[in-house]
């Protein structure tokens, strides 16, 4: 079983992204679980969600405290994310334009904000960073690009889906460490 814990801010689409990842896992013949953590629900407040992916039925429902991947939608969430729980072998995935060194952990990064802005995936001045990050995470957990993009096209049929899928593909190809 693979476990991801995602930290972001309310309004960044963290829960939606976790659901898209779960769908992509399901489409790949795996079992998945998203476990959103509900606290104070406000735009801009820190939020988190867990995602578990497995090739066997999942009967674990507890909060994620030792994720295989700690996903941070902003560098500013690094300390908070690490304080919630991490294990020595956890990898970190950052939304950042360049890599940030974290002692003892392998760090992947993708410039989700930059990709969303460069490709016009912005509404009311807010970039949809969850879409490029979704693409990057799909690659990380071994989802084929075609499957990843089809999930988006099915979720938002038509032009919207095409545009989002194209940006997800850029995210898919941009993950570095």
């Amino acid at each position: 079983m693979l476990e991801l814990r995602i930290h972001g801010y309310g309004g960044q689409g963290v829960v939606t992204m976790a659901e898209l990842l779960a769908l992509a896992a399901l489409e790949s013949g795996l079992v998945a679980q998203t476990l959103p953590f509900f606290g104070v629900e406000r735009r801009g407040a820190p939020v988190k969600a867990a995602l578990r992916v497995s090739d066997k039925p999942i009967h674990i429902y507890s909060q994620s405290v030792e994720p295989d991947f700690l996903v941070l939608m902003s560098e500013k969430l690094l300390d908070m994310g690490m304080n919630v729980g991490i294990k020595p072998e956890s990898n970190i995935v950052l939304n950042a334009p360049a890599n940030v060194a974290v002692l003892g952990h392998l760090v992947y990064f993708v410039d989700a904000t930059g990709i969303a802005i460069a490709n016009g995936l912005v509404t009311d001045g807010v970039p949809y960073i969850n879409i490029p990050m979704y693409g990057a995470l799909c690659r990380l957990i071994g989802i084929e690009a075609e499957v990843a993009l089809n999930v988006i096209k099915n979720r938002w049929p038509g032009k919207v889906g095409e545009k989002n899928a194209a940006v997800a593909k850029i995210g898919y190809d941009s993950l570095k460490n």
Binding site: A22, V31, A32, L35, F38, H59, I60, Y61, S62
Partner: protein, 373 residues
């Protein structure tokens, strides 16, 4: 339909849609969950040919449900925590009136202080209202149990409460299988009530009784609840034969056969505790787990069979039996086993109150501390 990825709340709504419910009455605001939101949306879209009654409180919701049920309708409602407590008076009406209302309750802690997270105090506080009670441990089980609940309720003329852990099961998204409508129709034909309230043929219902009659009705209620056990088992088996899905009827055992110690619990913690059992077995402890699926009627005879020859039974409670030692499940177990198996040693731990996270490592540590070697 096939396999979908959705939340526990939506699993309830999809089952209610498949059950072709006539009336849903519900209070739509907090502590309500997205169950009735999803149902209202389907009614609005025309996917469900159901009369949706948004009422001003849970007390009214259950009142509307009992009235609609007495009128011969297939009825559903959903609630959670304070909403269920507010219904309490009318819960007696549904059970005493022998009305087959089905309700989903999302288990959440009760006030005060405020908490929105899971424990089992809300539904266990309704223990003596006469409702049958199920506790689920997966999204698939939620969907399947709602369908079974209608069949059981209408067969034995008793209301059924299906419980699911707040946030853990209600808001988690996981894949579950939704049956084709024809399959559900075969399992659950339209409700044919043995009597209905009918304005063209007026009858009195729930009238004033004197002492010589009242106690007979209460006795009949108790007998009907106890007699529902074989029906519940048959319905679970029939559902399995038709769909292949099986979650146990009264209990779901896990590695119990060669175990010396059994760990009993309910809800999602009873799913995760399987990993605790695996861990403790690797350490050499002969342990197994029992998940109680049916709390009312309490399957005392089945429990006696499972624990026969075992050394110890550890009960994990996600509630308090205020004013008595231990949790409510623990007290139920003591009552059930007294006179049947007085050799077995019992232990109890109250945990996971108000959403305190219960992971399998923590539960394994608690179980290890309670083991009597």
């Amino acid at each position: 339909m096939g396999t979908v990825l959705d939340t526990g709340c939506h699993a309830v709504a999809m089952a209610v849609c498949n059950a072709k419910v006539d009336v849903v009455a519900a209070y739509p605001i907090t502590p309500q969950t997205s169950i009735v939101e999803a149902i209202a949306e389907m009614v609005e879209k025309g996917t469900m040919a159901t009369r949706f009654l948004p009422v001003e409180g849970e007390h009214s919701a259950m009142a509307a449900c009992t009235a609609a049920s007495a009128g011969g309708a297939r009825v559903f409602t959903a609630t959670s925590s304070q909403g269920l407590l507010y219904m309490h008076e009318v819960l007696h009406m549904a059970a005493g009136g022998r009305l087959p209302v089905v309700m989903a309750n999302v288990n959440r802690a009760v006030f005060p202080p405020w908490s929105i997270y899971v424990d089992h105090q809300d539904s266990l506080a309704q223990r003596d209202t006469g409702w049958l009670q199920f506790y689920c441990a997966s999204l698939q089980e939620i969907y399947d149990t709602i369908l079974q609940a209608f069949k059981i309720a209408e067969t034995v003329s008793l209301p059924v409460m299906v419980n699911l852990d707040g946030f853990i099961l209600s808001h988690a998204s996981m894949p579950f299988f939704v049956q084709e409508q024809e399959v559900v129709d075969k399992f659950l034909p339209p409700f044919e009530p043995s009597w209905v309230l009918d304005t063209t043929n007026p009858n009195s219902f729930g009238n004033v009784t004197d002492q010589s009659v009242y106690h007979l009705y209460r006795k009949m209620l108790q007998e009907a609840i106890l007699a529902s056990l074989p029906v519940i088992k048959n319905v679970a088996k029939e559902y399995k034969d038709l769909t292949g899905f099986w979650h146990g009827d009264t209990f779901e055992p896990y590695k119990t056969d060669d175990a010396e110690v059994l760990v009993l619990s309910m809800g999602s913690m009873a799913a995760e505790v399987k990993s605790s059992i695996d861990m403790l077995r690797k350490e050499g402890h002969k342990v197994g787990a029992l998940r109680l699926r049916l709390f009312r009627p309490f399957p005392a005879d089945d429990l006696a069979v499972y624990v026969a020859g075992k050394k110890q039974l550890i009960v994990l409670d996600r509630n308090h039996a205020f004013g008595n030692e231990g949790g409510i499940l623990f007290n139920e177990v003591k009552a059930a086993l007294f006179g049947k198996n007085n050799e077995i040693k019992l232990a109890n731990k109250i945990m996971g109150i108000g959403g305190m996270d219960l992971n399998w490592q923590t539960m394994a540590a608690e179980i290890r501390a309670l083991l009597e070697d």
